[in-house]
């Protein structure tokens, strides 16, 4: 007997499809006018949820490998959601990459005729030629397809055997899932690193950071945990976790949020620190365009975004999560989860949006370029894209919950999970 909440999946699907239709219309209209920004909204919206789902995939496999006693009750919700990951790559990233017009606008390195601020074209760029074994269109498209396949196969396997256990009560499924996760963790680590390289880092192809994959991993886990806190809060107030989610579950989620807040800060700072210390122009320009207005030489809007990330996305959640009571009082934990979601959005904007827009008039634009601004009306389109992709994910989640058990009733550790104690 499916829970009454799951009946809403069709409404979410309709809302998601309508929102995404609007976003795609804007995106294609932008592409036809040589404006990349609306297409970027699709990318930001899709990457926001792909990041959440990758975090949930990693958490699912990590809790499987470590046989986490607290996890089964919460993990089933991740399993319901996981199948949205390959779907989002197909409906969010693939069209942008596979349609030449949008690909050439968003990923400048795919457009040989694109003029750089230096006056040269992309096709004649020796930096790109040196990287062309990796950054070439065929390999790029093959990789995008491969990400969907790898994440899809993992999601299908992790779900199939977990759901099979509900009916045939075989403990062997737990061992099988253990094995799949042990292989899946390193495989996903490589896949998510490459996905972050292709979908975010390659938007600015001169720049490179070897910490980018681990930054994306840290962000994904932070987002996944925050969304899990919000989701389990809803589900324990009138959903299928009513009366099952206890203080110890919140405590463990709160502790993980604190740990990954510190981890994210460690990685993000280290990336900045190494580039700051080495002081190599191919690396520092990436931070320069995120701090200094190329025309006036003053601090730009992006500097404000980076300050928000230091204080609003690190210090605020970090200091809030230190006291024990924040991790166990539902309302407080929920507030911190929303703070993390907002900060993660700022981080995605910070990584995806700023780019050098070539300006030929050197009297007005001494650097030969301007930087794409932060505060534009496209931010609303970004939010609409996030809502659209989010509604599709929620629809997939609720539909999964209506077809399968919402609690893994025959998981060998389900009693341990329900009676979890600090």
């Amino acid at each position: 007997m499916p829970h009454a909440l799951t009946d809403h999946w069709k409404k979410f699907l309709v809302a998601g499809v309508v929102a995404l239709a609007v976003v795609w219309c804007f995106a294609f209209n932008g592409v036809s006018h040589d404006d990349y920004r609306q297409g970027l909204s699709v990318l930001v919206g899709a990457m926001f949820w792909i990041s959440i789902l990758i975090g949930m995939l990693m958490l699912t496999m990590i809790t499987r490998v470590f046989d986490a006693g607290w996890a089964p009750l919460i993990r089933r919700n991740w399993e319901h959601m996981l199948i949205a990951l390959p779907i989002l790559i197909v409906i969010g990233i693939a069209p942008l990459a596979f349609i030449p017009a949008s690909r050439h606008l968003l990923w400048e390195w795919t457009n040989a005729g694109h003029v750089l601020p230096s006056g040269h074209t992309v096709g004649a760029d020796p930096i790109l030629q040196a990287k062309s074994w990796f950054l070439n269109e065929n390999f790029f498209l093959a990789r995008i397809a491969l990400y969907a396949v790898i994440f899809g196969v993992l999601a299908i396997l992790l779900r199939r055997w977990s759901f099979a256990q509900d009916t045939d009560r075989t403990a062997g499924h737990t061992h099988r899932l253990h094995a799949v996760s042990a292989v899946g963790i390193p495989l996903s680590a490589i896949t998510l690193t490459m996905l972050a390289f292709d979908c975010l880092m390659a938007l600015s192809y001169h720049w490179f950071s070897t910490m980018y994959g681990v930054w994306f991993f840290a962000l994904s886990i932070r987002l996944a945990l925050a969304v899990t806190v919000i989701l389990t809060y809803k589900l324990s107030n009138g959903g299928w976790l009513d009366g099952l989610l206890n203080q110890a579950h919140r405590h463990v989620l709160g502790c993980l949020m604190l740990a990954f807040t510190v981890f994210w800060a460690y990685i993000s700072f280290s990336q900045y620190f190494l580039i700051y210390t080495a002081n190599i122009p191919e690396e520092t320009f990436w931070y320069n365009i995120r701090e200094i207005d190329a025309v006036t030489g003053l601090k730009s809007e992006w500097w404000g975004v980076s300050m928000y990330m230091i204080f609003g996305f690190f210090f605020l959640p970090f200091l809030s999560l230190l006291p024990y009571r924040t991790k166990i009082v539902p309302g407080r934990l929920l507030t911190v989860a929303w703070i993390i979601v907002a900060g993660a959005l700022a981080d995605l904007w910070f990584n995806a949006v700023p780019r050098q827009l070539t300006q030929a008039d050197l009297t007005k634009f001494p650097e030969g370029f301007t930087v794409a601004p932060f505060l534009t009306s496209s931010l609303f389109l970004d939010l609409l894209a996030i809502i659209g992709f989010g509604a599709v994910v929620i629809a997939i989640f609720l539909r999964g919950a209506s077809k399968n058990e919402t609690i893994p009733v025959h998981d060998p550790r389900i009693l341990e999970s329900i009676n979890y104690h600090e």
């Binding site: 700072f269 900045y272 620190f273 700051y276 210390t277 002081n279 024990y324 104690h421």
Partner: protein, 180 residues
């Protein structure tokens, strides 16, 4: 009045069942005892609440250590690079919060770990080389198949006969007076 014998450490009482010792602990807590303890061969979930134990105060010393370490790291790097021997390295400022951050960060972690480690010793009153309970022959069974509640003589409520009867009324099996 109170016939407190200074040479008496307390009264120990054994239990055979988890549920017995659990409910007995709740009643001792409700009776307002402060200096008492429960000894069990394995952790019993919910015993913290049944005993009315507060959260450990150790995290406060961890935080104090962390803040001390952060300030120490800042002062250390500022004094050396900017005050005592000003030196330009790699074109960076004499002192900013960025280049010495690894030092500041490591000092924070180190002092927070000191706060935790020594805080744990302080609040557990360690080192503690001997305890009167170790003289009790029954105490070795507490690591095997027996549970024990000990009411200590330093508690203001302690009274030898009354405490003994109180423990009997809780369903205790074997009552022993522990001497220092």
């Amino acid at each position: 009045m109170n016939e407190r014998n200074e040479r008496i450490h307390g009264v120990a009482c054994t239990f055979r069942q988890v549920s017995d010792v659990f409910h007995a602990a709740e009643q001792v807590r409700d009776a307002g005892w402060k200096n008492w303890d429960v000894h069990t061969p394995f952790p019993i979930h919910g015993m913290d609440q049944a005993m009315g134990l507060p959260r450990s105060p150790v995290p406060r010393l961890t935080l104090l250590g962390g803040i001390t370490g952060f300030i120490t790291g800042c002062l250390l790097t500022w004094y050396m690079n900017s005050y005592d021997y000003p030196l330009i390295v790699g074109g960076k400022p004499y002192w900013s919060v960025i280049f010495p951050f690894p030092v500041i960060y490591e000092c924070t972690i180190l002092f927070a770990a000191f706060g935790t480690f020594f805080g744990q010793f302080i609040f557990n009153r360690l080192p503690h080389h001997h305890h009167p309970l170790f003289d009790l022959p029954q105490f070795s069974r507490v690591s095997d198949d027996t549970f024990m509640i000990v009411l200590e003589a330093r508690d203001p409520q302690f009274h030898l006969d009354e405490s003994r009867n109180f423990l009997l009324s809780l369903g205790g099996q074997e009552i022993t007076v522990i001497r220092d």
